[in-house]
């Protein structure tokens, strides 16, 4: 087995990377509940929640939009990702290699690695804001693009260096710390919301005797539906719903979680993703946005989205520890995975060195506050970039055989690059980004939906041409 294969194995758990998971190694429902709850209650939730308030969202739009979007996300895991995962029981990388060929998978790894790098950068940014509370250096404002102080740069460097070195040594220890911290972290996130709510009640003098009074407080003081902050897209119900649905698009529609759910006994175990969605992407986002709305209520000119000070104001040192651990435990495996994705491109390189360099890139990215302050845009882009390959996997698995074509064509033909799949990816991405460029930034949150159909149609049409152009020999057929 070559280094590339090994690194792809490690990337998704290190077991059964080039063979289906055997029956004896399947996992029960409980394993997935804990995993999803932990994975989706991360440091970045503390940055995303406030950005909804900065986008001028109203109470109805944010609450109902998040419920609808999270339900759609869970349904995407159940009906798109899990059925393929539990039938093929292969990792995404191996499934893609069979369909697209090794060269195209390498390109996919590059895109994946770059996206992971920036995502890890945002997590480093979140952790570094906690250091600002201790060391009192000037921290970035909402619309800052470049680093604004030496203190900020040093804080990011310090956090990034620690995370990168630990990731380079392997992330098993951090993964264990993450498991231990998960239940504690979820409760601290909920406490943020409860404390923020009381602070609002006290600051506004609102009389709260029923849930309806809480709702009135939410509508009039927390999520007021006011104008967005300058330079921000105004968020409506539809923006919130599509954002909640697509922020993990790479995992469900994009099929990254084939690597996880291939261990599930039944495809309905995809429903376990609801724990992550409703703890992390509902309660944690709402709690963080309450803290930010309270900050604005106290000082409307203080628009900075800084999870460290927000958490410290609410629950003191526990909040700072939560911000550091939440950022650290999620940035670490992300840098590790990015390193593995890059290593797959240069198989002879040392994983230690590649992970360190990857951590360095993430750290440099983290110095630019625009990454965290524009996290909503970045997360939408992240899903969009990886989504077309999910459409290719879906079509290849379900539709291609029904259309009289052959699935897993790269494997059958022995070709290193299935250009039908490559074109489906690149053309879809070019069309979607072109539309965003022409129509405006707001459409970035919606374009992935038509994009999925565009990718599917292109893959079907081009597969027909490609499979005629590259016929199988009698032995291959």
């Amino acid at each position: 087995m070559d280094t590339e294969q090994k690194s792809q194995q490690q990337q998704s758990g290190g077991e059964f990377e080039r063979e289906p998971v055997p029956q004896s190694r399947l996992l029960g429902f409980k394993s997935f509940i804990g995993m999803y709850a932990g994975e989706h209650t991360a440091g970045t939730e503390l940055a995303i929640g406030p950005l909804f308030v900065a986008a001028g969202v109203s109470a109805y739009d944010v609450v109902v939009g998040l419920i609808a979007g999270n339900v759609l996300a869970v349904l995407s895991w159940i009906f798109l990702c899990a059925p393929i995962a539990t039938r093929a029981r292969l990792t995404l990388y191996y499934q893609l290699e069979k369909i697209c060929g090794r060269k195209l998978v390498t390109l996919y790894n590059l895109a994946n690695g770059v996206m992971f790098c920036f995502l890890a950068g945002a997590m480093v940014t979140v952790s570094a804001t906690a250091l600002g509370v201790w060391f009192k250096f000037p921290m970035p404002a909402l619309n800052d693009f470049y680093p604004n102080s030496i203190g900020w740069v040093l804080a990011v460097l310090a956090v990034g260096a620690v995370i990168s070195v630990v990731a380079a040594y392997g992330y098993e220890v951090v993964s264990k710390v993450a498991n231990i911290a998960a239940p504690w972290m979820v409760l601290v996130f909920i406490a943020f919301g409860l404390i923020g709510l009381r602070q609002f009640i006290d600051a506004t003098g609102t009389e709260v005797n029923s849930l309806s009074d809480v709702w009135t407080l939410a509508k009039t003081h927390i999520w007021r539906g006011a104008d967005p902050h300058p330079g921000r897209v105004k968020f409506t119900f539809w923006h919130v719903m599509f954002f909640a649905w697509f922020c993990n698009m790479a995992m469900h529609v994009g099929m990254s979680d084939l690597s996880v759910l291939r261990f599930a006994k039944k495809s309905w175990y995809g429903v376990a993703s609801a724990t992550g969605m409703f703890l992390g992407h509902f309660l944690a986002w709402l709690a963080a946005s309450i803290l930010y709305a309270f900050q604005l209520h106290q000082d409307p000119s203080n628009t900075s989205v800084l999870p460290g000070p927000l958490a410290y104001q609410a629950v003191g040192l526990t909040g700072l520890i939560c911000v550091i651990i939440a950022g650290w435990t999620t940035a670490n495996p992300t840098i590790y995975r990015a390193g593995l994705a890059f290593q797959a491109i240069i198989p002879r390189s040392s994983r230690f060195r590649v992970t360190l360099i990857t951590g360095g890139i993430a750290t440099i990215a983290a110095m630019f506050p625009a990454l965290a302050m524009r996290l909503l845009d970045f997360v939408a882009l992240y899903g969009l970039v990886l989504m077309p390959m999910g459409a290719v996997v879906f079509v290849d698995f379900w539709l291609i055989p029904k259309l009289g074509l052959r699935g897993s064509y790269a494997e059958l033909s022995g070709r290193p690059c299935n250009w039908a799949a490559g074109a489906a990816w690149i053309v879809t991405l070019a069309v979607c980004l072109g539309i965003v460029f022409i129509v405006g930034n707001w459409i970035l949150y919606f374009i992935a939906l038509p994009g999925w159909f565009i990718a599917s149609i292109i893959y079907i049409v081009l597969s027909r041409i490609y499979q005629k152009q590259v016929p199988l020999s009698a032995a291959q057929a």
Binding site: K176, N179, P183, W184, A191, T318
Partner: protein, 59 residues
Amino acid sequence: MRTTTILMIVSLLALVALFLPSILFLAGRMELGTVKWIMLLATIVWFVAATPWMWKQSG
């Protein structure tokens, strides 16, 4: 085995102690300063008590 059971109970109580003050604060029954101290104490107890048995469980 007995130590693990005790640690599990202590961990669970730490989580209760972590969460309860925020509910009491919401109900107007506790000062924020007290909430912060209890949450910090509960955090320390959680990590001290949960680490030994959860570390083993996560392989």
